[in-house]
């Protein structure tokens, strides 16, 4: 009896037009035709996002993720936790992005050799081997223009000759022998607010998702501790593996030996139970009259509870009902755009000036004879607030042990809109 081998069998990369442009097999070769089942599902789905992530076929299971308009389709032969595969595929995308700056079809095709080398290192026999970016970068150096030039001249390679030291040490995420002339550590506290605001302007649900992204360039083996003014705010946290969990449990202090370079130290959640201040309000008046071929559209934005910080990079988007043929709107600032095919309205507002609130007013022309839409469109808002974390989280201090020099430290706060929707 042939036991099906576990874990990831093959990987196919499929672009949005349904072509397989890369394939990689870790075990015996699986024919491309297995993707036909995927294409079938793709055809059935109205939107690219609607393709189900897990598709059973007679002999295989297809687990796919969609990132940057590329489907990463993994072929599985037997029972395996689906999240295991999904998480891994996302890690692959993250790595590509890390290596090539962007993860597009063109970038992957241009760097197909590096892609292959990476995939070869990341999985052995379908089981993840090295997924830590620090380790991978020691094994396979990311392509840079300079290195490409040098390589073509000298014939040297992108492949590291040594086993990454991290692979064996107790701190697998950090390589040894790191040296910098300027020792610096930057931390970005970025919070995203997810909210649903109902018609009348009251908050239905709101929660804050925060992350602390770090860029640490420190010599040697620094041991850092980061403490907060108000750690109790953090409702639910997940850490980079470097963070010592015991210390956090006991003292609510982040203690860690950082990886070298960029990494996500922490992500946290401030749930809807705590009252979240919504920094923006929307006044809207969108009406469709029965029988008329005209609809009214009025939108005004204003800041609210922003603690004196300005709203920036405000972008409004809304999917208008199918019945809308075109719009004739007049923005008080910024530019707006309506795509008559997809019915997507977007308005790039820019910065909100509290003295002169931005508005978008005008009329919509509707399909003649069509009945009035049941539902008013939902408005999605994006914005940024610099220098402020909405939850009020504050870093108290950052200390370094284990090394003699004095690093340069920096902390930045930012709030962004996540999935911020206003129902009208």
């Amino acid at each position: 009896m042939q036991f099906p081998a576990k874990m990831i069998h093959s990987l196919f990369l499929v672009n949005s037009s349904g072509d397989i442009f890369l394939e990689k097999h870790w075990k015996s070769v699986v024919s491309r035709s297995v993707c036909d089942y995927f294409f079938e599902a793709q055809e059935r789905a109205s939107e690219p996002e609607n393709v189900p992530p897990v598709i059973p076929t007679p002999h295989h299971y297809l687990i796919s993720v969609l990132r940057h308009r590329i489907y990463f389709v993994a072929v599985i032969q037997s029972e395996v936790p689906p999240l295991f595969v999904i998480e891994f595929l996302h890690r692959v995308v993250d790595t590509f992005q890390d290596y090539f700056g962007v993860c597009t079809e063109a970038a992957i095709k241009d760097n197909v050799v590096v892609v292959y080398e990476l995939l070869e290192e990341m999985l052995d026999n379908g089981f993840p081997l090295a997924t830590e970016s620090n380790i991978l970068k020691e094994l396979i150096k990311p392509p840079t223009i300079l290195r490409t030039v040098v390589n073509t001249i000298t014939g040297s390679t992108n492949v590291g000759e040594q086993l990454p030291t991290g692979q064996l040490s107790v701190v697998p995420w950090r390589r040894t022998g790191v040296k910098y002339t300027n020792n610096e550590a930057y931390f970005d506290v970025v919070e995203e607010i997810d909210a649903i605001i109902d018609k009348s302007g009251s908050t239905i649900t709101a929660e804050i998702q925060g992350v602390i992204d770090a860029c640490v360039k420190l010599t040697g083996m620094p041991d850092l501790t980061l403490s907060f003014m108000n750690p109790r705010l953090l409702d639910d946290v997940s850490f980079h593996p470097c963070v010592r969990f015991k210390r956090w449990e006991a003292e609510r202090i982040l203690s860690f030996i950082p990886p070298d370079g960029n990494f996500r130290l922490l992500s946290y959640h401030v749930s809807c139970q705590n009252l979240v201040a919504i920094p923006v309000y929307v006044k809207h008046n969108i009406t469709f009259r029965e029988g008329s071929s005209q609809g009214r559209f009025e939108l005004t934005l204003g800041p609210k509870q922003t603690m004196g910080k300005g709203l920036e990079a405000v972008l409004i988007s809304s999917q208008l009902p199918r019945g809308v043929l075109n719009t004739n709107l007049n923005p008080s600032q910024g530019t707006y755009n309506f795509d008559p095919v997809t019915k997507l309205l977007s308005w790039d507002v820019g910065k909100i000036n509290p003295q002169k609130l931005p508005s978008l007013k005008g009329s919509m022309s509707l399909q003649a004879g069509a009945s009035k839409p049941d539902e008013n469109p939902t408005i999605n808002i994006q914005f940024k607030i610099q220098q402020s974390a909405l939850s009020g989280l504050k870093v108290n201090r950052l200390d370094m042990y284990g090394e003699k020099y004095k690093p340069f430290k920096g902390i930045k706060y930012m709030t962004k809109a996540g999935k911020f929707q206003v129902r009208t």
Binding site: N125, D194, D236, S238, P321
Partner: protein, 1056 residues
């Protein structure tokens, strides 16, 4: 436009300018034409290409290759290889032409050219193009110094080795060499590639490499060997037993790097061998936090299964306390356990607690798969009141990618059906956003419905109202179903929901209306009494509804409750009679039903209508409808034949029908373990391992105890690598003295020595030499040999022995006092004495001998008898050793062949004795500390000569590590023939328990009268105290049943 340029280049020399221009124009227009068409019609496309082809050939017929070249390319393109003809245009021609020069580049001397070529080859592989014809050219570069080139060759090799098995073998020796490289990275990658080459013929080599790598110094290499186990297993399942041994060994590894990989191998090769886990359970629990994240997932899911077989159910009697304990959630863990233990007789196994405690921090992992696997562990293993700690983490995962959301929501859906309380506080996290994907929306809806209760139903219904208006009509329909479910589950809101749904009947969207009708029908069935006005309302809407399912539902309602709407129902039937022929099948069937029911209740008004409809149905195209019509007619229209049946027609058609139960699609998903693929697709995926039920009584807890602190050095000595340190060990000293002296008698015991130990045999050879060098003066000859040991032949080993012989007397004295634990040596020593005193001593005398000698004596006797056998076996071994470097393939069937009796008595090569002794000495440092100074030699009767009809057998435990497998206990058996005729074919027959793992001795072809022979066996008692039973057979009188009912001796603390 490629085309145009190419023409230009080729023709420049030959053509005059105006002509050239005209040609360029022509071909470019052709191409433009072709391009513009490419988007529209493939057929046209090929036409266009043909046209172009003919054009270019016509125009260029007199010119050189330029034209023909392009013609070839274009012609090539017409074969429909790729769907995107436009893009493939240039691509194909490139492949077509360049494969040849790729070969040249690969065979060139320049590294950079080779590298360039390999990069392009990898590009071809990535595109799924066939590059297999380059195999010979590529495989030559496998030994390249350039690491990147080498890696790319590896990529190629792994891809195509299966197809080109013979050629792939050319590369094997390179890997074998690399396996011995001092750089661990190279060793590891060699093993990785070697084991990835799916060529069955190299299975023995892989096996050997895996075994060796499993005891490598570097944990990274050991990790690689754990990966290789799975690969070998999928290549050749017959290796299972041997692989399990390696797994068992690696499971003991303390490195976090290895843990995940070896558990993965365990899961794949022998997931049912839960007994291998016992001893490592606590270690795995403690290491878990530090294992890399992918390993964590695998270990956690394995431990979940393990725990379900080993611990008792923590949920017993908890149902009552459930709600109360829910409050205890915010208290600390320790407190809770104490509570529990005080309140109930249930005591949680400390190991069970250990698992829960050590996995909890992993809920904070950034890896969603880890969080999910901890969540399922808590769901399946934790006491009910502790499960809720996973809620927060699962809700956090909802912020992750769409695909992650999908899986997590599915699992939450299953959980929330069983335990609403867990997720209720987070209800708002499941509110649907307009940007969610459809499958996410429906999952959220599912969960919200499950969470609905009396307290929150109003909030949920208000939220649902928004969803019903959604532009995504499919989602709106789903919401209506969800409202229906809420209405049935929560009786307080049934009326509200029903009214709301009735309002939706006037919705403009058809799918919404249809769905509402269907749901209303179901709701009305549940409480039909007060709702005749709703039925009337629906009858009014009937004309406007076109969705067949909805129409059918209304018709069914009319029929079912026709007595409540006596006036309307016949009218509806009248309308239906009119439109019957143009209806859908499902509607027709319900019309027939309605007609029948009305006929029974109100035949005065509807008799004619019914007959008309039945007539229409009789000639319908659909046979279902014809059948139904025929059946109904016989049932309701009374005639002579069926009088009996029509009496019951009323009761048949208008029987009270049970109301449908509206329930979740996720209701029965909990039969699958959460977080698994099977759970996601709701069917059993291949390779799914059932989660067993809790055992009623907890199995022995002590199996997890690790009594002895394992020697730290356990892993350090690798079979093949510690050779150099050996001479220092005293066991070696005595070993040599023994082998030197007893070469004539000893060695039978190891006649079937370890299969794969050729490397150790090699080592032993070198050791022997170095040792001799140390101790004797005649070193010049020896040093030559040690330098060229790989070429050494068996004859050399003979000469070696002679040398040793010369120095043995000297050594013997020094060794004797220290010869303590290694019994075989001991035996040898004594045997030698015995031998020297009188070689003719009769074997049957053993009883009369001095007791210290009694058993060893038989030993020594056997030697003389057995030496030929030993010899004949030793020889192939030596050969193998000598050829090993050249071709390991010969090792394929290494199991010693059945021995043929050679009468010619030669000096027995003591090599096997050497082997035995040396492989012992690998672990001798341990043996020496643990073993007593002198193990009392006690032999026991296995088979008395009376019961054995002349064949007697005695056994003893030499208390030395078994050679065959570390888990085995070695048993020394002395067989004596007390009859007056030779016994033939003595061998081991059936054994029990059937799974008994034992290493039998080789069949003894012939045992002369009065002769005796000593053999060694290895028996794996599996750490149990069960007796091992086996049959001892010989040809003449078979079978002699022997019962070796000895318990595994606890005092012989085997270091393994």
């Amino acid at each position: 436009m490629d085309e145009g340029k190419k023409l230009h280049v080729h023709d420049k020399v030959f053509l005059s300018l105006p002509l050239l221009i005209s040609i360029i124009k022509l071909s470019t227009t052709a191409i433009l034409f072709y391009d513009s068409l490419a988007f529209h019609n493939k057929h046209f496309c090929t036409l266009a290409k043909r046209q172009m082809l003919s054009m270019s050939t016509n125009n260029l017929s007199y010119s050189d290759q330029g034209g023909t070249d392009s013609a070839v390319e274009v012609g090539q393109e017409t074969t429909p290889t790729s769907s995107n003809a436009g893009a493939g245009f240039g691509l194909f021609s490139v492949d077509f032409k360049k494969n040849e020069d790729l070969k040249e580049m690969l065979e060139s001397n320049k590294e950079s050219l080779k590298l360039e070529a390999m990069k392009r080859v990898v590009g071809l592989i990535a595109k799924g193009k066939n590059a297999s014809e380059l195999f010979p050219a590529v495989v030559k570069n496998v030994a390249s110094k350039n690491i990147e080139l080498k890696k790319l060759v590896y990529v190629y090799l792994v891809r195509y080795a299966e197809e080109q098995q013979d050629l792939a073998l050319l590369s094997i020796s390179t890997f074998q060499r690399a396996l011995k490289d001092p750089n661990q990275l190279i060793r590891a990658s060699a093993l990785r590639v070697l084991s990835s080459i799916r060529v069955p013929i190299i299975v023995p080599i892989m096996m050997l490499a895996i075994k060796e790598a499993a005891s490598d110094m570097s944990p990274y290499v050991r990790k690689t060997s754990a990966h290789a186990i799975q690969k070998l297993y999928s290549l050749d399942q017959d290796q299972k037993e041997l692989l399990i041994e390696v797994i068992e060994k690696l499971l003991k590894d303390k490195s976090t790097l290895v843990a995940g990989s070896v558990v993965m191998a365990f899961e794949e090769v022998c997931p049912d061998r839960i007994d291998l886990i016992h001893k490592n359970y606590r270690k795995l629990c403690n290491l878990l936090v530090d294992v890399e994240e992918w390993g964590q997932v695998v270990i956690i899911s394995m431990l979940t299964r393990y725990a379900r077989t080993q611990f008792t159910n923590p949920w017993k009697e908890e149902g009552v306390f459930d709600e109360r304990n829910e409050r205890a959630f915010y208290e600390s863990d320790e407190e809770k356990t104490r509570d529990e233990t005080e309140a109930k007789p249930y005591m949680m196994d400390p190991d069970h607690r250990l698992l829960l405690r050590n996995t909890k921090p992993l809920l904070q992992s950034r890896n969603t798969a880890v969080v999910m696997s901890v969540a399922q562990l808590y769901w399946h293993l934790a006491p009910k009141n502790e499960v809720s700690i996973i809620t927060k983490s699962l809700v956090r995962l909802l912020r992750s990618h769409r695909e992650v959301q999908y899986i997590v929501l599915q699992n939450i859906a299953t959980m929330s059906i069983q335990r609403k309380g867990m997720f209720e506080p987070y209800m708002k996290s499941f509110y649907v956003r307009s940007t969610d994907a459809t499958h996410i929306k429906s999952l959220k809806l599912e969960i919200l419905t499950s969470l609905a209760n009396e307290a929150n139903i109003s909030t949920i219904l208000r939220e649902f109202q928004t969803y019903v208006k959604s532009q995504d009509k499919q989602f709106a329909a789903g919401t209506i179903q969800a409202i229906g479910r809420c209405a049935t589950n929560i009786s307080e809101v049934t009326d509200t929901c029903l009214n709301g749904l009735v309002l939706l009947l006037s919705n403009r969207d058809e799918t919404v209306v249809a769905e509402s009708v269907v749901v209303i029908r179901k709701l009305l069935q549940i409480q039909p009494t007060q709702h005749s006005d709703i039925i009337k309302h629906m009858a009014q809407l009937f004309d406007n509804i076109t969705v067949p399912m909805a129409r059918a539902s209304i018709l069914w309602l009319m029929g079912e409750y026709c007595e409540r709407v006596p006036k309307i129902a016949p009218d509806v039937l009248r309308k239906m009679a009119k439109s019957f022929t143009s209806e859908e099948d499902i509607v027709k069937l319900q019309t027939v039903n309605l007609a029948a029911k009305l006929y029974l209740t109100n035949s005065k008004q509807t008799k004619l209508l019914t007959q008309y409809i039945l007539n229409l149905g009789k000639y319908d195209q659909n046979y279902d409808i014809r059948d139904r019509t025929r059946f109904i007619r016989q049932l309701i229209v009374p005639n002579d034949k069926n009088g009996a049946l029509s009496k019951y027609a009323h009761r048949i058609l208008l029987a009270p029908k049970p109301a449908p139960v509206l329930e979740s699609a996720y209701k029965d998903r909990d039969r699958y373990q959460l977080g698994t693929l099977s759970h996601t697709i709701n069917t059993k995926a291949s390779g799914y391992l059932e989660l067993s039920d809790w055992p009623a009584v907890a199995p022995d807890q002590s199996v997890r105890n690790v009594e002895v602190i394992e020697p730290v050095k356990e892993w350090a000595p690798s079979l093949g690598k510690t050779g150099k340190s050996k001479p220092a060990k005293s066991s070696d000293d005595k070993f040599y003295s023994d082998s030197g002296e007893e070469e004539e008698e000893k060695g039978s015991g190891s006649s079937s020595s370890e299969d794969g130990s050729s490397s150790s045999s090699e080592e032993s050879g070198s050791d022997a030499e170095s040792h001799v060098q140390k101790n004797s003066s005649q070193s010049s000859e020896e040093s030559d040999k040690s330098s060229s040991q790989s070429e050494k032949s068996s004859s050399e080993s003979d000469s070696e022995k002679k040398e040793r012989k010369t120095k043995t007397p000297l050594q013997k004295k020094t060794v004797k006092p220290t010869a303590k634990d290694s019994d075989s040596d001991e035996n040898g020593n004594i045997a030698k004495e015995a031998n020297s005193s009188s070689a003719e001593e009769s074997y049957s005398d053993s009883d009369s001998d001095s007791e210290s000698d009694s058993d060893t004596h038989t030993d020594s006797d056997s030697g003389t008898e057995h030496k030929k056998e030993t010899k004949s076996k030793a020889k192939p071994k030596v050969e193998v050793k000598s050829t090993k470097e050249v071709s390991l393939l010969d090792l394929g069937d290494f199991t010693p062949a059945p021995v043929t009796q050679h009468k010619s008595s030669v000096l027995s090569p003591s090599l096997l004795g050497d082997l035995e002794g040396l492989s012992l000495s690998n672990v001798s440092s341990i043996i020496q500390v643990s073993g007593p100074a002198f193990v009392p030699e006690k032999s026991h009767d296995l088979l008395h000569r009376m019961t054995g009809k002349g064949l007697s057998a005695q056994y003893q435990f030499p208390r030395q590590p078994c050679l065959y497998q570390p888990t085995m206990v070695s048993v020394q058996i002395s067989l004596t023939n007390t009859t007056d005729h030779p016994l033939e074919q003595i061998h081991i027959g059936d054994r029990s328990p059937t799974g008994l793992n034992m290493h039998c001795f080789n069949t003894i072809e012939c045992l002369e009268p009065e002769a005796s022979v000593t053999v060694f066996m290895g028996i794996d008692f599996n750490d149990s105290t069960q007796a091992a039973n086996f049959q001892l057979c010989c040809r003449r009188k078979l079978p002699l049943s022997g019962l070796l009912s000895l318990l595994y001796p606890s005092s012989s603390s085997s270091p393994f």
